[in-house]
């Protein structure tokens, strides 16, 4: 018979995340799936990653990933960034799963700023790292009051924030982390993804798990769940789009494009999703 301690594994060189912690994260994740959009507290651990680099996402990933998985990690849409590569290697080294950059082949994708352009399938899971999970922080600092507002579905002040934004600026200025209602019940902040990616969460085929390490919260958007950005009926939700802009590399106009400095000083655009861009070039 083995002891609980043995089951949990030792804190050796590869034991960055013990079995008990994984189980706690899994339990929280299951609760999060059962109550879409609800922020489930969990006992977040110290992680060997740079501050602000997604210790919450990493814990969720570590709790889910198995040796048979193919893990894709992106930072700002890129697989090749130093942070993304380091994190990927950390998990792969710990679990022994495969590294993957092709969105289509990945079984588990961890990201912060983007949801891949290629639509995800039911057999894929997206883990988003969340720096600030609480959408109500914009209008209320008191944590107990935030909880009450969630419990009573009292989101009027979020609407007031939207109203004030429209009155002051003529448009809704909130871009990254646009507040959304999940399943018509809980308000979430979908991490720093651009508005462009918000529709990808709505009635998606895949499961999205949100992990916030510092705030010790996990929440989820299960497959086939309504995700509706807070918008007034008469003020349409608009995603980022620059008319006339096209990717310098692949020519895409409908992907999420980011500005890059170019030699001649003119504005140039490229796909933020490098995997998508590469494949798009091959197609052409």
């Amino acid at each position: 018979m083995r002891t609980v301690t043995e089951l949990a594994g030792t804190g050796g060189p590869r034991g960055i995340f013990d079995e008990l912690s994984k189980r706690e994260v899994r339990r929280a994740a299951l609760t999060a799936v059962a109550v879409p959009g609800y922020q489930v507290p969990f006992g977040s651990r110290e992680m060997p990653v740079a501050r602000g680099w997604g210790s919450g996402g990493l814990q969720v990933t570590l709790a889910l990933v198995g040796p048979g998985d193919r893990l894709k990690v992106i930072d700002q849409g890129e697989d090749g960034g130093v942070n993304a590569a380091n994190l990927r290697r950390l998990v792969v080294g710990h679990v022994g799963c495969e590294e993957e950059t092709d969105t289509r082949r990945a079984t588990l994708i961890q990201s912060r700023h983007r949801i891949p352009e290629t639509p995800l399938r039911a057999d894929q899971t997206l883990v988003l790292q969340v720096p600030v999970p609480e959408p109500l922080r914009a209008v209320e600092h008191d944590v107990r009051e935030q909880r009450r507002m969630h419990a009573q579905e009292d989101y009027a002040r979020m609407w007031v924030g939207l109203y004030e934004d429209l009155v002051r600026n003529g448009v809704v200025t909130k871009s990254a982390g646009y507040p959304c209602m999940v399943n018509g019940r809980y308000l979430i902040s979908p991490t720093p993804i651009p508005r462009f990616d918000v529709p990808k969460l709505d009635q998606a085929e895949h499961l999205t798990l949100f992990g916030a390490g510092r705030e010790k919260r996990i929440y989820a958007v299960p497959p086939h769940t309504r995700v509706e950005p807070l918008v007034f009926e008469d003020v349409p939700f608009e995603v980022e789009h620059t008319p006339g802009a096209a990717c310098r590399h692949c020519g895409a106009t409908a992907s999420y494009l980011v500005e890059v400095p170019s030699m001649d000083g003119a504005v140039a655009w490229v796909c933020s999703d490098t995997d998508f861009c590469t494949r798009n070039r091959e197609v052409r």
Partner: protein, 278 residues
């Protein structure tokens, strides 16, 4: 049913809740503090009905329990005992004091509105006048920006706030103007019951007179059932037709407002009226 709001046997005790806290308190003992337990019997056995279009006054000095009654009915505080019914909620069959916090809070959206003495208690001062009203409208499900703007403008017009100030933060408003915005917000979803807690206290006399006139006109026009808590007989006389006098947590007299002023019955009422008459 002839009432819009009915309150029965309302009591609020701070401290030990048991029956030991009651003896020795009340007007005949000159205190609301229990000699046995030290509990404060802030309100006890308070009951009243208010009809649509009617305003009931609650007068008394500070510590009489009038504001406690108001807060309990408003849902800002949980009473120790008693019940309250709204004809606009489940046809008056459900004791709204027994509802959970969330349900109580929702009553405040469109069933019972409160205007506090301090506008900051009912408003977010850093939000615009229109935004404050939008809070109530979106809480009631308003999701159309244009219609929210329209309704906010209509309410500000009703409460005589210049429309040019609609998008200014309430913090930049004068005291009287803030109070008008608070009234506009309270009326946003046409609540059948309106609770006014010292609505003009603290304002300069001329400003208070303007707010009082506004309230008088609104109460006449809107047909709401109102409860007006005030220590000021001028306010009570102008706004209410019936009145309840409280002392040391108990109701010592109820009557028609002119009757209370001309022929007060209880010794305490007589003292209050004599003091008010200078």
């Amino acid at each position: 049913m002839s009432w819009a709001l009915k309150v029965d046997g309302l009591g609020r005790v701070y401290g030990e809740q048991g029956p030991r806290s009651l003896p020795g308190t009340g007007p005949e003992h000159g205190t609301s503090v229990s000699p046995a337990t030290g509990a404060v019997v802030a309100a006890w056995d308070v009951g009243f009905e208010v009809a649509p279009g009617e305003a009931l006054g609650i007068v008394g000095e500070s510590g009489s329990g009038k504001s406690t009654v108001m807060r309990c009915v408003a849902g800002d505080e949980r009473p120790s005992r008693g019940s309250a019914y709204l004809s606009a909620y489940d046809d008056g069959r459900t004791d709204v004091l027994a509802l959970d916090d969330g349900a109580r809070r929702r009553l405040r959206i469109d069933r019972v509105a409160v205007v506090y003495q301090d506008p900051a208690a009912g408003l977010d001062l850093d939000t615009s006048a229109g935004g404050n009203i939008a809070e109530r409208l979106t809480a009631a499900g308003g999701r159309h920006f244009g219609r929210i703007r329209e309704r906010a403008a209509e309410l500000l017009e009703l409460t005589e706030v210049p429309l040019s100030r609609m998008d200014d933060p309430v913090r930049t408003f004068s005291g009287g103007m803030r109070q008008r915005v608070q009234i506009a917000k309270a009326l946003a979803n046409r609540p059948p019951v309106l609770l006014l807690d010292e609505p003009t206290t603290g304002l300069d006399a001329s400003v208070a007179a303007g707010v009082l006139d506004l309230l008088r006109n609104l109460l006449e026009r809107l047909g709401v059932a109102a409860v007006v808590v005030s220590h000021d007989f001028g306010v009570i006389e102008m706004l209410t037709r019936r009145v309840m006098v409280m002392q040391h947590g108990r109701v010592v007299e109820t009557g028609l407002t002119d009757q209370l002023l001309e022929d007060p019955q209880h010794p305490y009422s007589q003292r209050l009226v004599a003091a008010a008459r200078g």
